[in-house]
């Protein structure tokens, strides 16, 4: 078998893998090679975060952020790893600037705002607002993170590192001292052996291509943007994502502890409404989807204060506990007129419509032109229930009760702010089916504060590290979201792995 010798082998060229490689090379570590399954650089992040988060390099801020994170996760996560992330995240802006890139905007989070205020972008639970937000400067209509990945890849080559495309991690090799390398598989099907002093797994989370694994690990039935075969979850990071959990499987095979995999970062109007690139929308349906109007499950029952609809990670978590893990936003013609004249209650920065223009026509267009089976408009609630697949009796009872609450001006059932109580009385009646969505499912590997992969006894597997979406889950535990702060984790974990490897290699060389 062909053999390639490197010092550090990194699998995956997303933010975590590229950050690790750049940091290693900046520290003077030689023979660093990044292996990427696909023929180009960049992971799920290439098509995702417009911004990232960093906690100030100030003890007061770091301690507050850490306490809030512990509270948010109810300590159901790896706290030392979370602490390491929070303590190192301040390095991110400098890292990005050293790539020759800058920020469109920086949004400071004050000490008193940590954990109790909306993050700039909105959509996240309060508990995720831990630091300052850095909005990346993008090129054209693209995403800033794509540019970061490209610049990082260029820097790696400039500093003497290698990026090897079309080469996937197949299995890890071990001896009595730990991991010694890997068997990799080229696109042609040919395999070869990589010998390495240290290995970093940064293969990302699970995407649409890992449908079976997602079902087994999370219970979600993944679908695609055309809703082929139904489903209740969608990953929108790549057109043709190939995130099949190669790193997870390889690590588990040699005894790495298996941790929870989850990802319910946002809810979206069901696939078919979004395009390949999620922020290029066909119309304003995505904005309407985020309004705090009546939301029911498939039994026609309310299950949440719909005011949380703007904090999509909260909404997504609540939807996860509903039958079929889907939900329906329902409103009437009066509310549509309100949206068209007075405007939306709020908006997410990516879909910043305030006035809905000719909403009825937009619904009609979705149904007739695009053939959407997730957007409905009917003259009666009975017909709406039938078309959308909601229990008719349940819906009628709920609407009756909800309208009473609206008339009373107080939401006795869920405590929604009275300004959002808009009755559902007059035709036409509108409905948008909602499902959960992430860039990828995250988690699966447990790592310690040095980025070392832990085995089932919580001991590090020597010479094996992990960073990014495959390891970020251990920082969030059961509350796993997959939104902006995960890119913060990817950068930081990449740096931490690089720090640890550089330190250990220097120490064993007797420097």
């Amino acid at each position: 078998m062909r053999i390639k010798n490197v010092n550090v082998a990194i699998f995956g060229s997303g933010l975590a893998g590229l950050t690790a490689a750049v940091t290693l090379l900046e520290k003077g570590v030689k023979a660093v090679a990044v292996f990427e399954k696909r023929p180009f650089q960049g992971g799920a992040v290439s098509n995702t975060p417009m911004c990232t988060m960093a906690v100030k390099n100030d003890r007061k801020y770091q301690d507050k952020a850490f306490k809030e994170h512990c509270r948010f996760t109810s300590f159901d996560a790896n706290m030392e790893t979370a602490r390491a992330w929070i303590m190192n995240s301040w390095r991110i802006p400098g890292f990005i600037k050293r790539l020759g890139l800058d920020f469109e905007m920086e949004v400071e989070t004050l000490l008193e705002e940590i954990g109790n205020n909306d993050a700039y972008t909105g959509g996240f639970p309060f508990g995720m607002n831990l630091g300052d937000y850095y909005i990346l400067k993008a090129r054209g209509k693209g995403h800033g993170a794509a540019l970061i990945c490209l610049r990082a890849a260029q820097k790696i080559r400039k500093l003497g590192g290698e990026i090897i495309f079309n080469t996937a991690l197949q299995e890890l090799l071990t001896d009595e001292h730990g991991v010694t390398g890997a068997i990799v598989k080229e696109k042609s099907g040919e395999t070869y052996q990589v010998n390495a002093n240290d290995v970093i797994i940064a293969t990302g989370g699970l995407g649409n291509a890992a449908k079976e694994m997602i079902k087994e690990e999370t219970g979600y039935i993944n679908t695609d943007r055309e809703l082929t075969g139904g489903g209740n979850h969608y990953c929108n990071s790549f057109v043709n994502d190939q995130m099949t959990g190669d790193g997870l499987k390889a690590a588990w095979k040699i005894g790495a502890e298996k941790t929870k995999i989850m990802g319910s970062g946002r809810h979206i109007a069901y696939p078919g409404v979004v395009n390949y690139v999620p922020w290029i929308v066909k119309n304003q349906i995505s904005t309407i989807m985020e309004q705090p109007y009546l939301i029911v499950n498939s039994y026609g029952e309310r299950f949440i204060d719909e005011g949380e609809n703007r904090r999509s990670a909260n909404m997504a978590a609540a939807m996860r506990n509903q039958p079929g893990r889907i939900a329906y936003l329902i409103f009437d013609e009066d509310t549509m007129k309100h949206l068209e004249t007075e405007g939306t209650e709020y908006f997410y920065m990516i879909f910043p419509a305030t006035i809905i223009e000719n909403g009825k026509e937009q619904f009609r267009e979705m149904i007739e032109k695009y053939g959407s089976k997730q957007v409905f408009m009917e003259d009666s609630l009975e017909a709406l229930a039938k078309k959308a697949g909601i229990d008719k009796t349940g819906l009628l009872e709920t609407v009756d009760r909800y309208n009473q609450l609206c008339d009373n001006g107080y939401d006795e059932d869920f405590g929604k702010e009275s300004k959002y109580l808009r009755p559902v009385k007059n035709a036409s009646f509108y409905c948008i089916r909602l499902c959960n969505c992430t860039y990828s499912m995250i988690g699966g590997i447990n790592v310690n504060k040095k980025g070392q992969v832990l085995d089932k006894t919580h001991r590090p597997i020597e010479h094996l590290y992990a960073a990014g979406d495959c390891a970020a889950g251990c920082i969030y535990g059961s509350s796993t979201p997959n939104v902006t702060s995960v890119s913060s984790i990817s950068y930081t974990q990449g740096m931490i792995c690089a720090d640890s490897i550089a330190f250990e290699q220097e120490r064993s060389a007797g420097k």
């Binding site: 693209g142 995403h143 490209l150 057109v239 395009n275």
Partner: protein, 68 residues
């Protein structure tokens, strides 16, 4: 000459904005140009898309004898 550079991130932005000019070749795992993309009358749209591309992967260069 118009081509898509190998560092294209396959985000699909160009397909979303101009499905008549770009499409995904799932077998080759790459975005390809449709015949329409090479027509003279589409050059302005191609130039505009080249400006919008996240990583400047749509490369339009003059070749000898071309006016644009």
């Amino acid at each position: 000459m118009i081509k898509i550079a190998d560092y294209c991130i396959r985000c699909g932005l160009c397909i979303d904005l101009h499905p008549e000019l770009f499409e995904y070749d799932f077998e080759k795992d790459e975005i390809i140009l449709k015949p329409e993309a090479f027509k003279e009358e589409r050059l302005d749209e191609m130039k505009s898309m080249a400006k919008d591309c996240a990583v400047a992967a749509i490369v339009i260069t003059k070749t000898e004898g071309e006016n644009n």
